[in-house]
Symmetry: D4
Subunit: 223 residues, 8 copies
């Protein structure tokens, strides 16, 4: 682990568990405890979590839907979902695991961000009914699969930067998430920035860095 | 030319001029005149039109924006744009050549269809302001490039079938039109059907076949 | 669920079950019953159906071949297969699950559509023997995998619009269905419109919208 | 040049002119004359032919449509188109340059093969009207672009091997010829074998080798 | 089944078992027996074969390596491997299942073709040691995965047509077999024709058609 | 033009000139002047600029390197490059046109942002020498083509959000810019967000929105 | 097996076990023993190793992390990791299986090469801290997945040739390893050469050949 | 320019001229002269060279076939082609520009390397006739387009490392050079390492680094 990364970049390294053995994960957890560090683990499937030794698993706050685990108490930044500067908007139920990975990563840093769900553009009114609430966020994380039309519609309606997280939800041409990814990149609405498919953690990290820019910015005479 | 196709399928063959020499085009025009047939020519660039012999060019009604030409007077189906059963919706100015290929192909069959332009979803209100008018069409031809979000938003708002025509408008990942094509195919709104990139003629042919279905349908006790 | 979608677009939202847990499906079924709505569920595998609680499963009319389930009695539109305005043409036995997804979705709306099967173009005479019957349909749903040659041959023989449903049947270069999809889009026969790979439901929804266009059309002085 | 190749394989090397300078082509022609060999040159555009020195160009039998040139008199195998064992079937006018590259390569070896043109499957009857004639060929070279449906239909109707030559004719998804190529490879009709896109020469070479197999075969007690 | 195909094309339809249920396979076998026809089944895995009812399985001559089954006694064309006009050349051990699918399909038609194995070009001498034997075949079926260099080397050494069967053997960029496929299509040695990845049956069918061309050819005054 | 977009989203629509005729551009400029609006035009090549009527061209501040034009005086936000909150980092000389498109778009909004050039990672020390200066920016726009390694190295060294702009600089596998794009998306350093290939304007718009988030953020008790 | 390959090329053939049955592997091992040869087996999963007969498995030195096995004692070239001319640099923990395949293949030839791990560029200082040690190697094998930025950074810092081994570590756009592969090929730092994804054995073989070049070189008056 | 790179890595930076203006190139040349450095310029087309100011062009040793230019006298390493440790093997005439880019880059460093041309594997004997000469090189640069079979055949015959340079020579599926690239990466002969398509300079740089390894190696007790 690059323990120094948080100091340099403001965001710690996450532990991608997908190809790690239970022993490797246990070793990383032990190293973190020895250094009195917190950890955020991603892509830890329910089966992989169950394979951990009980004394390791017992240390972790595990969430099966997002397949994430947290070691150590989250930071307390004093915000609540009600007035969170970051909002997560998800197109459909199938996008929730990725949306929740972002939520958990934000919680790890003390942000309690709300998820506004089921606002895909095929049912445009559901999105428009909530648009005023969404406009209050300083940064919007948008999570969508299939054709990813949500990204463009949303970015055309809000002043906040929109971090698009394409998901691998879809079939046929949409298998794997590239259609949603490309739709986000090709968006005719400017202000959309994009992270890798299913990368909820990366979106959260970027949102935090943007707030950091804002915070830093708040102490200068301004742009 | 397959002169019999119109009788079998209700829509005549179009002449794709892209790889044809002036002599080949002249020969096809001559054959059509000899049989007293009308012709619809597509992808006839301004340079290619200029290369035709004057006596051939003089016979054609040429439109440079859509790169189409018509031999013979269009059918008169007695409709006007105001009450056309088919409407063409175009996302942006750059999509107009393809939208106009559809318009010209409809005109060839006696339909005066309107183009509702500049209603891309990044400026959602422009679309919503015109949605009532669009809802009156029996068939909607939607033309969009870039990320193609228009297809999903539109299909979620109207009861008519939506024929998506992705265009090759775009750059970077959107070069060539595949992002818009895939977005149309992966649309989370059902009722979207798709034709090849830039294929305005094909969309018009399909729209006419749908109306034919409707017309035939109108004479039976019906579904 | 977007309960309002049927009113706006004439076709209700389908429930894509592929990534949903038994609990999520049960919740959607319960919500539909509370609102006294019918539901159409797609991509519900036999294993996923077996995982549902018996009181939920007992409410559903399940079809394992197409992996679809229906909650509530289908509409009765008064048609029978014999005189259905919509026909389904399938190239081979392996395409039947997708053809049946379309059939079930049509049945959900009260249409009893026939499937004309095993008419792939390698055995052209089998198709030609049935072509007169196919010509009587107002809308044709064509289902084929592999190289998808059926779409072009069929569209050159009938006046009805042909909705091509490419299937993921095939191996080697045809794995996943993109060859059939591209063949449908590149068809040299006009009047072919295309939906996503394996999307039988989408084809049915589009067919119904086309009939709706026809029906609406039937009440006006016509095109 | 690999002057020995014809002896080993029965077919001489062709000269692909696409990236060669006039000087390089002149040198190859001179070398062939010095060895008293014939040459077959492909992809020699009209502009490239015009750039050759007159004394070089004057030695060549040049055909602009197929962009091929021949040095030396063709072999005389004693066949005429009427009873040629090899037939070339082309889907459309735009496929003729490739069909003609095959015709010229066969002529180079003394075979006068006919081209049966404009038999694309969207106008199925045009193909069926000529199918008896096509059935008389021992080897069929089929040339088609777009969606390449001709390959499957043809192979389902004839007993001869079908050599599919996909062409780069098409636009949108069909740009470059990969859709026709994949359709040929994925054909549900067995007996289709495939060469590279636009490779009329390669198809001719393979057809000659097949006849050679037949010829050799004819002299043994045989299968 | 298209029982008439063999009469039209000289090669019967094969039964692709990959997506068929035991019941569907049993029905096809029963239909064949009722018509007193023989059957060739491909892609019937050991698990799928084991799932067949014993009375169905008992009728079949099953080969697990090639995953093929035969119903009925093979034709007896009177050839033996020693003097077979068709030879199968395989690059490596991992290519044997596909090579054997070709061998079994040939046996189904009465041809006992030999497999020359382990002659990949990285060990060129192994190929050269056997090249004289290979040169005696009238048609060569070449089976190779990875980078498919065998196809070009072989076609540069023999006068017979070479039917390239790319296999899905490989990893990294070679996963799925497209590198070998493209190498076959792009071969700088002419006379290579190509079938779909892993399509041993298709290669056998094409080889038989080529012999048929030869046989038919043998009865005419010839080319 | 969507004149209302700036009010809704904080960033006005840019005019993508790539497929627009001189007349269309003149009409848009006239419309902007009639409404007393400023305009930012992108992808206006030197040839296209030269084709504009002199009275139109005379109104524009044109920059050939970035192919951008500005109508109207830029906003004056009171910043200078020396203390700009936004910095642009470019890997090589060939990336400068895209970097300058971002610089010009920022200037249009009153930000004078510096470009730190020639800091590609093959010469790592050049980047490290300037890293302290780069660390002072609140938002970093990184511009790189080829393999795009700059994005990861940079994001591992700074606390600011990094907006990656992949460029189409490169050849062979890097042609078109997808390698740099994918490298940015797959970055093992979190906090990288990505826009379309060559989209300098989009990066500038996103950077401004991030500052807006920061500014808005600065007036609340904060996260 | 091509037993003669080592004599010709200096490196023996490896046995790729991925698609081989336990019987096939046993036969190869028996053949090697009969000829008194050593063997290196790759892609032998733990399950495949467990399926070997005990008397075969007992002969092998098996390493589960790299999925490799060795028959026979390794050569003893007299080097130790401390002064090995070849060094292996791995970006992250997930890349270790591939790095270890290289290490084991080197060990098979008597080279004890060290692995420098966890030096991905997102934590640049970890790499820089070890760069002096890395600079002492004559050949560097670099192993990285995701965006593969390590290859460029490393090649810009060392004088030794860098053999890039992209790994299939990654998700979303990085799935399968092509992003890392392309990044290596497009590297703006010259001197990077590349092998197939996950091909640790190939990198080791190439490194040995380079040392051989050096060795041979050492006996001549030099370049 | 990264003037320090040669000291760090043994190979100087090359100047890729493809997107540089005459002014930018002149500035780089001037900077090199001011520092008394030599320069190697690649992808400088004849048209671009002609566009340079005469006083700049006059300083350069320009080679139109390889589109390279050299500023300053090459190093004199005292080798001649006859005993060069590096050999360049090219499959066909069309590959010569890339082969010559490598030759010129080697000459820039004082190595006079020979090109062995026209040894493509379709004419295997031409390669075998020269194999003894090729075996004498310490490092082999192999240049081939189309299907790239040369790489595997060569690497199976020599003990030296083979640096494969795929070229963009080819058409149809081989357009752009990816087939040759993938064939090199998937080679079943180990010891092949690969550089980007058409990257003759990169191959030369890698070859020099390998010799450097050898040289360094020669001075240690060594493996």
């Amino acid at each position: 682990m690059d323990w120094d990364r948080e100091r340099r970049t403001g965001v710690p390294e996450a532990v991608l568990c997908e190809r790690k053995s239970p022993e490797q994960i246990a070793a990383i957890v032990a190293a973190a405890r020895a250094k009195n560090r917190k950890l955020f683990l991603t892509r830890l499937s329910a089966a992989a979590f169950a394979a951990l030794a009980p004394d390791v698993a017992g240390l972790l706050d595990y969430d099966p839907l997002s397949a994430t685990a947290i070691l150590g108490a989250p930071n307390d930044a004093g915000t609540a979902a009600m007035k969170s500067p970051i909002g997560i908007v998800a197109a459909g139920t199938s996008d929730l695991p990725v949306a929740r990975e972002a939520l958990r990563a934000l919680a790890f840093h003390g942000h309690v961000a709300p998820i506004i769900a089921d606002v895909g553009v095929a049912g445009l009114w559901r999105l428009l009914e909530q648009i005023e609430q969404i406009r209050r966020f300083k940064v919007v994380i948008a999570v969508a699969g299939m054709e990813g039309a949500l990204f463009s519609v949303l970015a055309g309606l809000v002043a906040a930067p929109v971090i698009a997280v394409p998901t691998s939800v879809g079939y046929g041409v949409a298998t794997g998430g590239k259609v949603a990814l490309y739709a986000a990149l090709a968006s005719c609405a400017s202000g959309v920035v994009v992270v890798n498919i299913d990368n909820g953690f990366g979106a959260a990290a970027a949102a935090l860095k943007m707030l950091g820019a804002a915070r830093a910015q708040g102490t200068t005479p301004g742009p």
